[in-house]
């Protein structure tokens, strides 16, 4: 489903080159629930933005659903984002001026879907996250957990092949976080492929598989000394 091989992302200025990802490899199979973990600045978010075609990469290869995405233009990347990827952001990223119904409708409109089909999908997705009764509410009228559920409904409505979640519970309290996590697990059980970026070991442990990034590279948790050093440091805190 998602395969990156020797992928690199370099940010260049006049005086310095910074590798956000270096010789990075990952292979996520269809139906997997993978947690990508790592400390702040390790490259997790860069990985997610490249995986979601929000940013281009500098070198290596990236196959999404079997398609090499390296040479695609902006329109083609937009189309893939719209049709194959569902995003769940840490800050929910709902559009404050649109109500729940209109927010979930946003990606469907860009697909050129007929109004009746859009409505059906929106209702199904909101039923799925338990918010079908809040259609006319605006984001500001919802709790954080409800907003994230709307964001999940928005991601699900387009029936994406891949769900990318960036710290989906990062802005939620424990109870709301638990609810959102259970929802993601349910969605996974129904067959969705999920890649979740998190720095929370507890959340990561609930995924099927963990990929750990340090300094822009995937590391074997058991063997990499940098992981142990970081782990030790965080244990002393």
């Amino acid at each position: 489903m998602l395969k990156m091989t020797h992928l690199s992302k370099v940010y260049r200025t006049e005086v310095v080159e910074t590798y956000a990802l270096r010789d990075f490899n990952i292979d996520v199979k269809e139906g997997e629930f993978v947690a990508v973990t790592g400390p702040s600045g390790s490259g997790k978010t860069t990985f997610l933005t490249i995986a979601g075609l929000l940013e281009t990469f500098t070198g290596g290869e990236y196959l999404l659903d079997g398609v090499d995405v390296s040479g695609l233009n902006d329109n083609a990347r937009s189309k893939i984002r719209n049709e194959k990827i569902g995003f769940i952001f840490q800050a929910f990223n709902l559009i404050p001026d649109l109500n729940v119904f209109d927010n979930v409708e946003v990606p469907l409109r860009y697909r050129g879907m007929k109004a009746a089909e859009r409505k059906q999908r929106i209702m199904d997705a909101l039923e799925r996250v338990g918010l079908a009764s809040r259609l006319k509410h605006y984001p500001a009228e919802l709790s954080g957990g409800q907003q994230q559920r709307v964001a999940i409904a928005r991601a699900l409505a387009g029936s994406p092949r891949l769900l990318l979640a960036d710290e989906p519970t990062g802005n939620l309290d424990t109870q709301m976080a638990r609810g959102v996590m259970e929802l993601l697990e349910d969605i996974h059980r129904e067959g969705a492929t999920i890649v979740m970026v998190t720095h929370d070991p507890e959340l990561a442990a609930r995924a099927q598989r963990n990929v750990h990034i340090i300094d822009g590279q995937e590391v074997d948790i058991a063997e990499d000394p940098r992981f142990h050093a970081e782990h030790a440091a965080s244990s002393h805190v």
Partner: protein, 408 residues
Amino acid sequence: MELGPILSTLRRHKITAFLLVAEIALTCAIVCNAVFLISQRLERMDMPSGVAENQLVMVQVANIAPTEDAKARTAEDLAALRRIPGVKDAALVSQVPFTNSSSNTSIKLSLNQKLPTLNATQYMGENMIQTFGSQLVAGRDFRPDEYMDYDAVLKDLDLVRKQTSSVIITKALAERLWPGESALGKKLYFADVGVRVVGVVKDLVRPSLFLGDDAAQWSMMFPLRMNGNNANRFVLRVDPTQRHQVLEAAAKKLRELDPHRIILGKKTFDEIRSDFFRNDRAMAGTLVGVIIALLTVTALGIVGLASFWVAQRRRTIGVRRALGATQSNILRYFQTENFLLATIGIALGMALAWGINLFLMQHYELPRLPWIYLPVGAVALWLIGQLAVLGPALRASRVPPVVATRSV
């Protein structure tokens, strides 16, 4: 099309949206009326004179004292002017179209009529039709034997009473006096003096439009011979390519013939028309300036608001891009939003334009605003709106999708 979400968003920003709509409405209303006023001025400036404008020049003179042998001196002047290379004809006339100074008289259609029917201008001079280049549409020009000396008529009006004198009138005057009838042979009266219509010219505008534009063409020509003591405008019909040379030569010749004569002015007819409509031209120019200023201010308002909204919505634009919006989707979003606001503003503006026109009709005797000016204003505002929003919309379309993942 994202009409629903756009309207939903605008409902959440009522005040800013209202201000822009109000600005567009006001601009639309003023532009519609201003364009109408300009077109009226232009139409007025294009008013037909009834003379061969590109061939006419005029030299205006003044004598220090009355001349003893004025009739002979005038004949000598005209003969000399006709000999100047490029001159086709010359006449000494009482007045010239569009020169503001005019001699007018009241007309009656019968002797026992108490109140005059109307007031018309009286052109007097020999050889006027040929020199002015006026176009006869009915009847004939004056015969040589019909001409009388103006001085003699002034001394003894019985000269006119004894023999029925002739007059040539304009088509507009003929239609006003005898609607649907031929004017030829009909008589009209000044006090107790009657004259018979022998010819009708297509147009001959009055020197002054003091009675309004509707009466602009109410003019008459009389077969009265003028001289240097009672007329001071020499009109020359010349080769159009030699107008300026002829003017100089004519002024020089008239000075040679009478060194005591003062040349008050020498103008081509183009200059005469230009001077006459100076105020109209200035008004049209001012209105054009007002339109440009208003459209500029409106365009800047649109640019400002659109730029503010783009900056304010940068994050949500990034989210839309992340969710699959292409750059053209974003561009279209902002253009549609502007189109909607402009359309609401234009609809209100059209109603306001109508209202302003009614006010102007009541207070300034302006005609009703023809409906065609409403779409003119609408199209102008739509175009201005779309052009003004293009820059900010392009900036919005270039917001990268990765903005959605940034925390601020």
